[in-house]
Symmetry: C2
Subunit: 164 residues, 2 copies
DNA sequence: GATCCGATGCAATAGATTTGCATGAATATT
DNA sequence: AATATTCATGCAAATCTATTGCATCGGATC
């Protein structure tokens, strides 16, 4: 079953997820990457969506208007994650999801996954604060990233019973 | 490449991860599940390890002493996760990992994954506190679980350069 | 023009998990 | 006792996701 994209309207959800401010070509150039049509399409699809997408979803979205190979999508996604333009988000299902990596326009934020209908939503950065002082002080390794995932039942499923 | 289990000794790591206090047969009975030999083996392997394991790792561990089918392991894992005896932990790689679910002997805790050597470790419950007040107050759905995953470079990799 | 390189396509493969179907043991029903 | 039901398990095949190997092609470089 595919995760329905962002079906749950809620004042907590992050409106920074969709990006009208990012200049994708410039982001690519800054990372020393050629701004090919395919890479721009991937960036536009991911940045233009308000919740993280799977490689398959990205592929199908692009395919509606442009010819592209699925392997190309995988390779571009891997490259862009490596270069910190995109972020790979692990939702719990089998497929990885991709969203904009934190940058000047996108603050890191937790994600919510409904255990009933599998809907995914970006939560606002402020809705949940993580105190890492204790960790930073005592952890002997180097912390690069903290990913927070909230699981539960979405508003839709609570009232309507949710799709399916 | 397989994640090396728990190579990083650190005072932050959770010593509650391994379980000598849980009575697996009783846990199964309480969940109205027959305490079959295979189910007990799965519980023992997971509970006896100090970090979460993949289905393949659990299967191979059991197989060293008992005949069991890999599909059986998958089915048992799914069942025990459903019944909240085990917890499915999404590490980022392709394979899911499994650990004891929170119970009287096991507090929920974050996990650390080394981005260099893929080592996984259970962090102590206290090392990182999450303030969910704001979330609970404003979130219109129901929160069941909050999973925190810390990514970074482990102590081993920082000094030695890490395996591989 | 010859050569090199990076991006892409296509086919095959790999890895993880799930599904379909059969069996056999235990329990319940007639 | 015979029959039916249930459930755990095994085995084979299928499915889903992602990766790898190899060919091509256009642009940059020599
Ligand atoms: Mn997001
Ligand atoms: Mn753990
Ligand atoms: Zn839902
Ligand atoms: Zn490491």
């Amino acid at each position: 079953m595919a995760a329905g994209p962002c079906t749950v309207a809620n004042n907590l959800y992050c409106d920074q997820a969709m990006c009208e401010q990012c200049n994708y070509a410039r982001l690519l150039k800054n990372a020393d990457l050629e701004a090919t049509a395919n890479r721009l399409h991937v960036m536009e699809v991911v940045g233009g969506n308000n919740c993280p997408l799977t490689a398959a979803e990205i592929f199908h979205t692009i395919s509606r208007t442009q010819p592209i190979n699925q392997v190309t999508v995988y390779r571009i996604l891997e490259l862009l994650v490596e270069q910190n333009l995109l972020e790979r988000i692990t939702i719990g299902g089998r497929a990885a999801h991709y969203g904009m990596a934190p940058n000047e326009h996108h603050a890191p934020h937790p994600h919510f996954i409904c255990t009933r209908c599998a809907a995914i939503d970006c939560l606002s950065p402020e809705c949940l604060s993580v105190d890492m002082e204790n960790l930073r002080k005592t952890f002997s390794g180097e912390v690069e990233r903290v990913e927070v995932r909230v699981e539960g039942i979405c508003r839709n499923c609570l009232k309507g019973g949710g799709k399916k």
